[in-house]
Symmetry: C2
Subunit: 495 residues, 2 copies
């Protein structure tokens, strides 16, 4: 297979879909650099390290950013190195740095007033709040889910969904929204005891990641370093299918593995009914932090239907997968569920900037102030979300990402064909640019990431030995060509 060139790639993309106009990130970000440039011996360089050592926990610092100079898909660091960013701030950069249209938004009085007068949204919403949501977030609401609660981050979005699920579960047990709380419930909850603080749980999946606050961390099953020494709820974990890649070559074995996991999952739901019923099941459409683990749409459809069969609400955690990078606006759209069968909750954050949950009327608490807090979201981030959504729609960026994904699949396949044994399990080819692959072992994976950075490309790891690509939605064939070229060189050095 020939190495793709920018022009051949763009031709392929245009040919692939007449619907995709010839978008380029330069349309949106005219001054985006043409290529990475690194002039220090390593990244981070000396100026970045000088910044690093002064405060907070600098052990996790990777790149010290110069965000005034960064542009589009290029992150400029404190040493003046220009890095192609294929990680996007842990998957949270939707369009790129300093997109001029976003900067214009930030200069509007509406944005400035929202940024400086942060209200306690639940009780003192701004008068344009309904309009901002209706012309923004609600235009991308998942099929079947008409209600929206905003939050400040992905962890709190998931915990807001947990709370809503627990309340709705208990309400259903009571038989009606008007059924009063008993005196015993009112008193016992103040002591953190049942029945007021009920013996209910959230079921999650091995390798799943749902945040790092106490409820979300109890559902998180990614790595021990995320969980150790933190008290956790005694909530159950179900196995997630360990599929073999490429999926198409292991269809029968994978189907059997999914069936095995579904059976065990249903068994856990049944067994918990007696002592601690599962009120909610939470899963990511692609288990990202845990290593970009995939499963089939049929598997996810079964999960959802089995949850309902046993009375558990179903939460699709789209904090990382949401907002277009998988080639559909929400990754769970690929499950092909009807509006009626759609997840009970879809949670989001990261690329959307304004975090929150979409849900149905039935999971709205029966009384006010039950799922409430001071800020409950941020009007300035909701304005930002609306503008991001507009830009995505105006430029047909979800389709563009799909087209770029085709180019990326071809380019990576070509590179990997020359590095067999070192690279394996290329996955996400049906998920646009939301792709990943494994490197032989953790040490070589970390070496790969470091050398890529020194070569001018910032990528992230996940799981034990995976590399995850999390570019922006404006990441295009020209960026793919640079990525593939650098990867080929770096993999040669490692081999």
């Amino acid at each position: 297979m020939m190495r793709p060139t920018v022009s051949s790639l763009r031709a392929a993309r245009v040919a692939r879909s007449g619907a995709v106009r010839a978008f380029s990130s330069r349309d949106l970000i005219p001054n985006e650099p043409a290529k990475p440039e690194v002039h220090t011996d390593s990244v981070p360089g000396p100026a970045s390290k000088a910044c690093i050592d002064k405060i907070q926990d600098s052990r996790t610092h990777v790149v010290v950013g110069d965000y005034e100079k960064s542009s589009g898909n290029y992150l400029v660091d404190a040493d003046g190195n220009t890095l192609l960013d294929v990680f996007g701030q842990i998957s949270s950069t939707a369009l790129g740095y300093n997109v001029p249209q976003m900067i214009e938004l930030a200069k509007t009085p509406e944005f400035i007033h929202a940024a400086l007068n942060r209200p306690a949204l639940g009780s003192f919403p701004p008068k344009n709040w309904a309009e901002v949501l209706e012309t923004g977030l609600l235009t991308v609401r998942p099929k079947g889910l008409d209600h929206l609660v905003t939050t400040l981050c992905g962890s709190s979005a998931n915990e807001t969904a947990f709370k809503a699920a627990f309340m709705a579960y208990r309400q259903r047990e009571r038989g009606s929204a008007d059924a009063p709380f008993t005196q015993e419930e009112l008193e016992s909850c103040m002591l953190n005891q049942a029945p007021g603080a009920p013996e209910l749980c959230v079921l999650s999946f091995k390798q799943g990641f749902h945040g790092r606050l106490f409820g979300s961390l109890s559902a998180t099953r990614s790595k021990a370093i995320h969980k150790i020494d933190v008290p956790a709820f005694d909530w159950p974990v179900a196995p997630f299918p360990e599929l073999q890649y490429p999926l198409s070559e292991h269809a029968a074995a994978n189907k059997a593995e999914e069936a095995r996991c579904l059976a065990e999952y249903e068994d856990i739901l049944v067994r918990h009914k007696a002592h601690k019923p599962v009120a909610a099941v939470i899963i990511e459409p692609i288990l990202s932090e845990g290593g970009d683990c995939h499963a089939s749409p049929e598997y996810f459809r079964s999960l959802r239907l089995i949850a309902r069969k046993h009375g558990a609400f179903f939460i699709a955690d789209e904090v990382q997968t949401g907002v277009g990078a998988t080639g559909t606006f929400w990754a769970h759209e690929k499950w092909g569920l009807s509006a009626e069968d759609a997840p009970d909750f879809v949670t989001f954050s990261k690329k959307m900037q304004q975090a929150g949950i979409f849900h149905r009327a039935e999971t709205r608490p029966n009384a006010p102030y039950r799922n409430y807090n001071t800020w409950m979201g941020d009007p300035m981030r909701a304005l930002q979300a609306r503008e991001i959504i507009r830009i995505i729609k105006d430029n047909d960026l979800v389709n563009y990402t799909r087209a770029t994904g085709d180019v990326l699949t071809a380019a990576l396949s070509d590179v990997f064909s020359r590095h067999q044994g070192l690279v394996e399990n290329h996955r996400g080819q049906d998920e646009a640019t939301f792709q990943a692959f494994d490197i032989a072992n953790q040490q070589k994976r970390d070496q790969f990431l470091g050398k890529m950075r020194a070569a001018g490309v910032q990528i992230g790891g996940c799981g034990d030995r995976a590399v995850r690509l999390r570019p922006t939605l404006t990441f295009g064939p020209e960026h793919v060509a640079i990525l593939a070229d650098k990867m080929d060189s770096v993999l040669k050095e490692i081999k």
Copy 2:
């Protein structure tokens, strides 16, 4: 006692402290209205109600704000009513609406770049991050606490402190920071079981409020409606002294009550050692949401020292009390602890806009990525915090708040003297403008709040029948005079 006038009040304030220059909110906010104006029959009026009915959970909406028109201590609503705001977005407005100096900040490239290029702070901090913290938040670090971790809200600040406390507690048990985790710990934590997910707990106090996520909600003991139907950790609650007001008239009884509560608190710490040791104790310097409950500095000093005696870390939750409104920058300063005895953690949010925790080196996790997440704070909010801190210092607003507090105490005492039986337990006279009082019962309290709003003054309730005043730091004698005048009229109507 004569009714205070603006000029007499200002004279009294200036006389009180030569250090307080003749500041007025008009110095900072030249176009602040002179008085409230309500032209609808009730608040919210028809335009506000029209906004209200469209989205989210509108049952908790109190005022629909027109934040472009609001100014200083005056909140303009969707109907064009101008309300004197003595609640400040649940205590989260430091200076007032649309302070011109803050608007200038929002127009700077630094602010715009920070607002639009939100980084994953833990790994990709901006190059000016250390400088922004060192010239901002770190200039107001509590005595004894040199380390800072930023977060997105008060609940996550408290949970970040909990996690740090649990990790440090286990590290101390292991004997050294280098002691490796055991295989059993690494495996059991993935199943949410001990020893990896340890049997440790956080002790909190009756009436305490620490947030509404799963860990913080387990420590929250304010009201059943905050907790019911949400699973909680089996963590202990200690009694908080039920003092009689005015404190000066019940010194002996109050001292005995505090001693009783301290003994029970210590007993809980001792009893939990065998099966579920208390790793952290958390308390607000004034239990705000729970009803503005006060105790003496001696009581708080004893709490802290008893916690240390039994190996528990001590967290001062200053989310609501912090940032000047109590007449010291941090409310716990009044406890008079040495740097060595200072709380192990001080958490903050609300008025500071950038939330977080201050702590010591000893409670820094021994390995990176242990107390970590994607955003970990927000550079744009840190810039805002720095500017708020500068304005507070430049205008000596902590002292100004104390002077205003004297005026407020006198004015409220005067009003209450005419409404004995209806109003009681005036408290916080030593806490600047952070004052509260009870009304005879909940129904009359709610009636009072509604009528005050209709008269043009927005105040908040707390506890069962308390009214809490949470004005900005620019709230001055001229605002006190309006508040007292309206209160007198409204209380007459209720009596």
